[in-house]
């Protein structure tokens, strides 16, 4: 019975991952934020173009909700964090593409440096938003 045991074994394999690796989590977050932004950019384009096309009144009332309501203010801050993460980790990935930082330790250092910058920018923009 050539390979019959291997055939049945193929039905089972473990899917364990590297739960303690910074690089993988950076990628997982990049992907989640990316998917969120795909959803957002489509919604944003349709909503903006749509309300511009339906005229002054509609546009102004839509915008006063989107830029005035506390829930949307909160979502806006969340969106900003998402953009900052995706953008800054994106710069890290672009650096790898031109051959900078492609080492196990360096890529982690780069990640934390960019996250530090991101946290500062996010905090600063939240303060700006609150009108400080």
């Amino acid at each position: 019975m050539p390979n019959s045991h291997v055939m049945s074994a193929d039905a089972f394999r473990t899917r364990s991952q590297m739960w303690d690796a910074t690089g993988m989590w950076a990628w997982v977050l990049h992907r989640i934020t990316g998917l969120g932004l795909v959803f957002y950019i489509i919604l944003h384009t349709i909503l903006m173009a749509g309300s511009l096309l339906s005229g002054k009144e509609d546009f102004d009332s839509t915008l006063s909700i989107l830029m005035g309501h506390p829930v949307f203010e909160f979502l806006d801050i969340l969106l900003l964090g998402t953009v900052l993460y995706h953008g800054l980790n994106g710069i890290r990935i672009l650096l790898f593409d031109i051959g900078i930082g492609v080492r196990v330790r360096t890529q982690k250092d780069l990640f934390w440096i960019f996250m530090g910058v991101g946290a500062i920018l996010w905090f600063w923009s939240i303060l700006l938003k609150l009108g400080w």
Partner: protein, 240 residues
């Protein structure tokens, strides 16, 4: 003396078991004990039916890779003391079909290894041997990447391999780069065509899991990044 190790070992025999289970063993510790010594002790004194693979015991044959405490490692090169705990969980390498207990089927790994034609093909038309200076950047880069013992650690740690069964994986791509970077190789362009596919270099998203686990400290990501650049250069007609 030291307290014994509490070892959990993955057990699965596809011929008789419906589902895998974990067996618990108590293993006494000795100085400089490696994870391989742990499983050998279990097989010798506690359960003779435990299956695992090993050969050289000095980290050069690449057959004893296991998933130990959440990481793919060479059992022979992993000191028990380096795990910093007395609780050890040993599983077969992820992403591979399981033959029995800790023994995995390396077939998919080597099928992909074969796809990139892992052997050097000399240029026929050369009368004089091409010299690659031993201290050149190129030589040094290739030398680092040649240390691969094809143990499968990187392949098992890669989340892209986990989701895409066709992805060539870090080891095969790294091997491909060592040959493509070699000026004396006759089928570089052909090799580059094999890796310039959706399931080739373009599935790598620089997560560095492969580099993280490599017992030889190779960074396959670097090779893959270089391959991506060469693929692009080829499209622009710069790489012949």
């Amino acid at each position: 003396m030291c307290k014994p190790l509490q070892v959990k070992v993955f057990r699965f025999n596809p011929e008789s078991d419906v589902a895998p289970k974990f067996d618990d063993f108590e293993v006494p510790v000795f100085d400089n004990m490696a994870v391989l010594d742990v499983v050998i002790h279990i097989q010798n004194y506690l359960d003779r039916s435990l299956s695992f693979r090993f050969s050289c015991r000095i980290g050069m044959c690449g057959s004893c890779a296991m998933y130990v405490n959440g990481r793919a490692r060479l059992a022979c090169r992993t000191q028990v003391s380096s795990l910093k705990t007395r609780d050890i969980t040993i599983m077969p390498l992820p992403n591979f079909p399981i033959i029995r207990d800790l023994v995995v089927d390396m077939e998919p790994f080597f099928d992909k290894w074969k796809k990139i034609k892992p052997y050097y093909v000399p240029k026929r038309e050369l009368d004089e041997p091409v010299t690659v200076q031993p201290n050149s950047n190129e030589r040094e880069f290739i030398d680092d990447m040649l240390d691969c013992i094809s143990c499968g650690c990187c392949y098992s740690a890669c989340s892209m391999v986990a989701t895409n069964k066709d992805y060539l994986g870090p080891a095969a791509l790294n091997r491909a780069y060592t040959l493509i970077a070699d000026k004396r190789d006759a089928i570089r362009v052909e090799r580059l065509k094999v890796v310039d596919r959706s399931y080739g270099v373009w599935r790598c998203h620089t997560q560095f899991n492969c580099a993280e686990v490599c017992p030889k400290n190779i960074v396959p990501t670097r090779s893959i990044q270089n391959l991506k650049r060469r693929c692009v250069l080829k499209k622009f007609g710069i790489f012949k």
